[in-house]
Symmetry: C2
Subunit: 661 residues, 2 copies
């Protein structure tokens, strides 16, 4: 029996389930014209962003497709284009639903938290299901045709390209719009957040979707594809049985079924966070049952392989719980930042930095334990299987993340449309949980990116060996090229984060100028008589963010090629590992620290330590503002960075490895 | 001819020259009783700190000495005690002079900048010369007796222990006292900095010396000793000729002579920074001439070795110039932070973080280029020789760094004693250069610590091989133990920095309480009628800082042992490199970023962008306060961290390597 046909089928099932959910979400009719108008503006803004982004990508993709065709092979060109198109399609479907689900959630909120929660989760699940389904379909489909995972690596890189744009450009967009809206609206004009008089308010709402729906979707699409391909390459290297090559795809298929079943558990009148977690835990349990049945009972593989899948699931859940500890208002880290705010902004920042750095400890230990255990169970292949098992939860995780911008937007729409207080209470309750889900899924994305990249590195080593005509290639720490590569690799995430942080400032500046201009030149905005020019703000921040991603994007793509061609394959190997090491730690520090700063402010806003308007609150706002580009731009953008570097290395392994260089 | 006798002799020459300079400094008589009283309080406070610190260290050292005696050998116990005593002695001499040079500089300032500059430099050179002299004397002396560098590694670890205490404890002390004095004095009571009515003012002045005189001295003493020993071990491994074992010591001796000659060039009426740089560049040139003559003409060694010494000197100078670019007021990075301050504290912090992260780029490239070039010239031994050549400038570099607290204190004394404006102008001019010298020498310390640690790692690999009875030991990136070790090693500096940052907050809190109490309970302080209880503040911050260093200290010492004993020698090798990678980058980011924040504030205080009291200034003060524990506590403390881990690994290599584990 050809299992690949089954995994193709299940990929399609995931997509269809996603589309069904989309129909469910869209079938809810909204009649309030004011709300529809706002939602429509957000929808149009999001589509305008995607259109411009995809147009830019198309040009770059065309060039890369030609390069791959000339230097690598035609299969890589084809799969590369397909990967980019599939990932873009997932982003497009996700964005087009989540920017229309927002108004429906705001509208259904009058019927209670429970229904609103269900609808917003379903909206998020559209993105989750299409991302996982398209990724599995793509990898399985191309493997079905080519029967060689090495020829499908282009599919992964197609995902990389979209992810790079979505994470960097999207990250810059979301924070530039946020800062621009806040700085002029809240600070200079003294109007509340999400006030329709603010010209940047639509851009801000678009930005939420750009970051946490399209950005996370593309990021996990990429991780999914490259982990599967990397694991399959290691399966080939085992040289035993085709089953080991297809096994990663089978895990992915089970994860999709598990996530579909798990998604039915997101209901009930419990605490909102608990309800969402129920869905994740149910998906994990269903997947594990499936893993056991298929691995042990049906395929009769070594039970050790099943245990490595358990390792992957446990890593995923631990990443969730650890990050929750570091970013939720009820625990020590966030409270320590809130308390520090009483001594002013500087002490808030110092404490936040300390919390961010400390928050790397447990995830790093978890990843290390995961590596050691899965390696002892099944060698390098075991690590790859653990990574694949972890990423098989993609559908439910992306659903959780995309839930965030939907409820965030719903709150904004409720506020802009002046809905009654009880409705806004409901949307606020949903939104505040969204902050936590965004933080915990980010940690999942970082952890899975690190494991995916380690899998890719192992595949790189295999590829290099394959092209070295039997000569043994060792990447030894006693080799000065490896050490130099490690230094250069570890350096890149620092440099890259620096550029991303600065880019937010520059892009924000352009929108601040525009918002100021509109308030000055368009008469009647403040009185609510004239509508500001929302579209122009959306346009400006779109252009600015795409411009600012050029340099970090070039660094991500060119640095491994330069090192590979100039210093050679050995130094490149060091560079790959160096980038994973410092990228993993820096991304965690930035993402978790940023989340903690955010919730420290919210903790004070809940009425603690003086509440809103107190000096402690002013200090906490500074921390939150610093945390914004950390957690939404620089931190998440490191994920595609390390994956792009590792994937490119595999693509060019033939050139580096064959002794040409 | 036995060259070791000559290097012993030149070590003694360095010490004697240091003591002569001390005599010159002390021979300048100060008559103003008010000034003497202040200086005396600082002197006593510094001695009280050292006494308590050394007492604590003595207990720990006694335990370690026994452990080494039982598990390693008696030679390690002896050299360990000697290393600790020598380093402590250097710290004691340095501190006892610099805390008395301060008042003399304040006094001589009336005779003009030129004389004051000369005297403050001489005060700093006392520490520089004794540090380098004692380190060279110790390593040479023990090699003379034992004829095996492996038996002298204890001397390096003795230096490590003092350095760990001096950098962590001293770093916490200096910033806790600073913050404590500022927060209550400047902010709550509205009195100027360095006001004698502030109970913490003496502790603050003591802190400057504890950080930049004792801390830097102990740090470079350690780097000097371990680099020399590491290079000698690699010289042994070359297996060619005893000359290669002694060669590092010869370079050290030449560096001392070069620094003595170079120190005569620190004179003239030029720009202050230029005058100091003249001394460094002259020292570098004299050393290079000496290196060439001895290496090529006299010893007739391969000229490639001379070129590796050039690499070391060039790295040292480039680290200076790059850091100057990132931390001086006249260049883009500092100005960008100053400009960002106009948009508030949050934008100042974001920009400062971005500058800090960016500032890792060029130093990392310089170190990488240095590694590749010196390796291509003379293999691993070449890297060690480049490191030794770099660190041979210790005497002049420590002189430059210790110049900082002397002029800082001189400014404080001038202010407290209400000296006329023209004198304070002179001390201010000297002090503002001190900020730059402190920043650039920190980058030197970080760069040399990284190279020293790489040398130690290479020695560790050799030692492991030696104890593995011929079995080849490879630290390969394809080995999961190496990867886990790399992750754990890279994690440690993040965790450690987090603890250091938080420790400053806690220690500062204790002194803030005390200062508040004194202002409340001791009547007449604000009117200047009653003297506050300075000694109590000094005592409290001393105790607090020594208490706070316990946990980071334990992490530094135990983490390599735990990994070595539990995960084995292979994982430990990965851990060592991981710690060097992330430690190097994080230390640079924190130290350079902190320096840039500091000078951005000073740039605004110079009257730019609104000057003192403007909103931009308020924002810049926040950045400066965040930068303080970054650049003076966490950043510099990473240096001993990575050296301690690497040195301990060598000491226990016999246990890890012999297959017991």
């Amino acid at each position: 029996m050809d299992f690949t046909l089954i995994t193709i089928l299940i990929g399609i099932v995931g997509i269809i389930y996603g589309l069904l959910l989309a129909k469910v979400v869209l079938s809810y009719k909204v009649t309030d014209k004011k709300m529809l108008k706002i939602s429509n503006a957000v929808y149009k803004g999001a589509m305008a962003f995607l259109k411009r982004e995809y147009t830019t990508i198309a040009i770059i993709a065309a060039i890369l497709a030609v390069v791959f065709g000339i230097f690598i092979n035609i299969e890589t060109t084809i799969t590369f284009i397909a990967g980019a198109v599939f990932s873009a399609l997932a982003g497009f479907i996700g964005m087009s639903i989540s920017t229309r689900a927002n108004v429906r959630v705001a509208s259904i909120a009058k019927e209670g938290v429970s229904k609103a929660l269900r609808l917003s989760f379903q909206g998020g699940a559209v993105t989750g299901m299409t991302v996982a389904g398209l990724a599995l379909l793509g990898v399985s489909g191309f493997y079905y045709f080519y029967r060689d995972p090495a020829l499908t690596i282009g599919f992964g890189f197609g995902g990389c390209l979209i992810s790079l744009f979505a994470r960097i450009g999207g990250g810059i967009y979301t924070k530039a719009a946020d800062v621009g809206a806040d700085l002029i609206g809240k600070v200079e004009q003294g109007i509340p957040e999400d006030d329709p008089r603010n010209p940047a308010v639509i851009a801000d709402n678009v930005g939420d979707n750009v970051g946490d729906c399209a950005g996370m979707g593309a990021d996990l699409f990429e991780t999914y594809a490259v982990t599967a391909i990397g694991a399959m390459l290691l399966g080939v290297a085992l040289g035993r049985n085709d089953l080991y090559v297809i096994y990663p795809l089978i895990l992915g298929a089970i994860g999709i079924i598990g996530s579909i079943l798990g998604s039915f558990f997101v209901r009930g009148k419990d605490n909102i966070m608990k309800t969402l977690y129920k869905g994740v835990i149910a998906s994990a349990i269903f997947s594990l049952i499936g893993f056991y049945f298929v691995t042990v009972t049906y395929l009769k593989l070594d039970i050790a392989l099943f245990f490595t899948t358990v390792v992957g699931i446990v890593i995923a859940l631990l990443m969730f719980f650890i990050t929750e500890y570091y970013t939720a208002k009820s625990y020590r880290p966030v409270r320590s930042i809130a308390h520090a705010s009483q001594s002013g902004a500087a002490v808030n920042i110092i404490t936040g930095l300390a919390v961010g750095m400390e928050s790397t400890l447990l995830p790093a230990l978890v990843i290390c334990a995961g590596i050691l255990i899965s390696h002892s169970l099944a060698g390098l292949y075991g690590i790859a299987i653990a990574a694949m098992s972890m990423i098989s939860l993609t559908a439910i995780v992306v659903a959780l993340d995309s839930y965030g911008p939907i409820t965030d937007n719903a709150g904004g729409i409720a506020e802009m449309a002046h809905l009654p207080d009880n409705i806004r209470k409901t949307t606020d309750a949903l939104d505040s949980v969204g902050n936590t889900t965004k933080a915990v899924t980010k940690a999942f994305a970082i952890g899975s990116a690190a494991l995916a990249s380690l899998t890719l590195f192992a595949a790189y080593v295999d590829e290099i060996a394959r092209f070295s005509l039997g000569k043994e290639i060792i990447f030894s720490l006693s080799d000065e090229r490896v050490i130099v590569g490690l230094f250069l690799g570890a350096l890149i995430p620092f440099l890259f984060s620096s550029l991303c942080m600065k880019a937010v400032g520059k892009a924000a500046f352009s929108i601040v100028e525009e918002v100021r201009r509109q308030f000055k030149e368009i008469k009647g905005i403040m009185e609510g008589k004239t509508e500001p020019d929302y579209a122009r703000c959306v346009d400006i921040v779109t252009k600015a963010s795409l411009k600012e991603l050029i340099i970090p994007g070039i660094i991500a793509v060119l640095s491994p090629l330069l090192v590979g061609f100039i210093l050679g394959k050995i130094a490149l190997g060091g560079m790959l590992i160096g980038s994973i090491l410092s990228g993993f730690l820096l991304a965690l520090m930035l993402a978790t620290g940023g989340g903690a700063w955010d919730n420290a402010k919210k903790y004070i806003e809940d009425g603690n330590l003086g509440g809103k308007g107190s000096p402690a609150h002013a200090a906490a706002v500074v921390g939150d503002t610093v945390g914004d580009p950390s957690k939404d731009t620089a931190g998440p953008a490191i994920n595609p960075l390390i994956k792009v570097m590792n994937t490119l290395a595999i693509i060019f392994a033939a050139l580096f490895g064959s002794g040409i260089i």
